[in-house]
């Protein structure tokens, strides 16, 4: 748990995550785009479980729903589940070495993606195999860099 949290950094990081979620990107790599907002929700609930939680994650998920034009609530629900999982295990998570943290990021983001995919299929999307798990995998790969960067910024700004 960090002793200081910078709220402006929080706002900027969320805005950046939303922008990165939709910014023009080589179309062939779109499958591998990390789940930016999921990572941010993971990071901020992990670092300040007392202040960021399920309701905030849900609201951010609704924004992502608007950006992705999925039915309102799909990503909201999935983001809330990320926050819930992190809240229940953040104390254990802190003890883990970095590699194991990455694995947990993959699991949690994977559950998020699976839930989104499942809900979309209920509402009539195509089945596309397991490629929807790529955002979780790439998200886990950049987790060490992202958390390191945000920790540093938090210490400087907070």
């Amino acid at each position: 748990m960090l002793s200081v949290i910078s709220y402006p950094l929080f706002a900027v990081s969320i805005l950046l995550a939303l922008v990165l979620s939709i910014s023009l990107f080589p179309l062939d790599w779109l499958t591998f785009r990390p789940e930016w907002l999921g990572l941010m929700v993971f990071y901020w609930t992990f670092r300040a479980p007392g202040r960021f939680g399920i309701l905030l994650a849900w609201c951010l998920g609704l924004l992502l729903d608007v950006l992705e034009s999925t039915p309102l609530g799909v990503n909201g629900l999935a983001m809330a589940v990320i926050a819930f999982l992190v809240l229940t295990m953040h104390q254990r998570l802190r003890m883990y070495p970095l590699i194991q943290q990455c694995l947990m990021v993959f699991l949690v983001l994977g559950i998020n993606q699976m839930l989104v995919h499942f809900l979309k299929q209920l509402l009539g999307a195509d089945n596309t195999g397991f490629s929807y798990l790529w955002p979780a995998a790439t998200g886990a790969l950049i987790w060490p860099f992202l958390s390191g960067l945000l920790d540093n910024l938090n210490r400087k700004l907070g």
Partner: protein, 288 residues
């Protein structure tokens, strides 16, 4: 008590998903939120704008002059074609009036720019920088310079969302230019392939045939090129041929798009500085 909160959120989300996904009750909420998120769209497009601007800094004068020459030549060719077209269009409209047909050919268009793509790789959607403030509404057709791209499915004040013809949930009623054969063109989820379905084995259709929107179904204006037949395979025993077509529009690449408004009805059109009628300026030899 995270458990209780999660339960609450699950219940509310389920209600929202059903209301939005099944009954489409929340389009206003969505539109309001999207209007609030307009800065995100702008920022998302900023890197592309910046790189365009940066590339523009290092274009040599020769290149610019060359480009200018090319554009002038092209303009001349197009102007000549437009002159011919103006005469044909007026003649056509007269003939239609003689036939008591209500349909007038000229459509009004505005130019928009693509400011975002759908983050979901399995849905083919774009976001353009024209919204309900510019008069865009759901169901309008979107073109690029080569053909039909898709239709508007959702608008906010400053942006709207476009479903591309290649999305697997999209269908366009089309006809073959050569003989008027009608069929339905379905998206496949692959940006370079469309499926022409329910064409009988005996139908007269060949590779290379141009498919234009037929205007049936009342959604797309008539006569815009949509795709070109690229592959026909007949399975003996199947009632229908399986036909693949390649979209004419550059679905992956186009940055500038046209929003097509159906021809204004008799109650007069609004004057919009961005928009022009199909009317062409009088041809003059030299600009003042």
């Amino acid at each position: 008590m995270p458990g209780l909160r999660l339960f609450l959120v699950v219940v509310v989300s389920a209600a929202l998903i059903v209301a939005d996904g099944r009954f489409g009750k929340l389009s206003e909420v969505r539109s309001t939120l999207a209007t609030g998120l307009a800065p995100v769209y702008w920022l998302g497009n900023a890197p592309a704008n910046l790189s365009d601007w940066f590339a523009g800094l290092f274009v040599s004068k020769d290149d610019l002059q060359q480009e200018n020459e090319d554009l002038k030549a092209r303009l001349l060719i197009l102007e000549r074609r437009a002159l011919k077209y103006a005469a044909l269009a007026s003649e056509n409209n007269e003939l239609r009036q003689l036939l008591n047909s209500a349909e007038v050919l000229d459509d009004r268009v505005i130019v928009g720019e693509v400011v975002g793509v759908s983050p979901d790789p399995f849905s083919h959607e774009l976001v353009i920088n024209k919204g309900s403030n510019d008069g865009v509404r759901e169901g309008l057709a979107i073109l690029d310079a080569h053909g039909l791209m898709g239709q508007v499915i959702q608008t906010s004040k400053f942006t709207s969302r476009v479903l591309l013809v290649s999305d697997s949930s999209h269908a366009v009623p089309v006809e073959v230019v050569r003989n008027g054969l009608r069929a339905i063109l379905l998206g496949t989820g692959d940006p370079n392939t469309l499926d022409l379905v329910h064409v009988p084995n005996t139908a007269d259709i060949r590779t290379g045939d141009l498919l234009v929107s037929s205007g049936l179904g009342g959604r797309f204006p008539r006569g815009y090129p949509v795709a070109e037949v690229s592959d026909i395979s007949q399975e003996p025993g199947d009632p229908f041929v399986s036909i693949k077509a390649t979209p004419m529009a550059e679905l992956n690449q186009s940055r500038m798009v046209l929003v097509v408004f159906p021809a204004p009805k008799a109650d007069g059109d609004r004057s919009d500085p961005n928009a022009f009628n199909g009317d062409l300026p009088p041809a003059e030899g030299e600009a003042p």
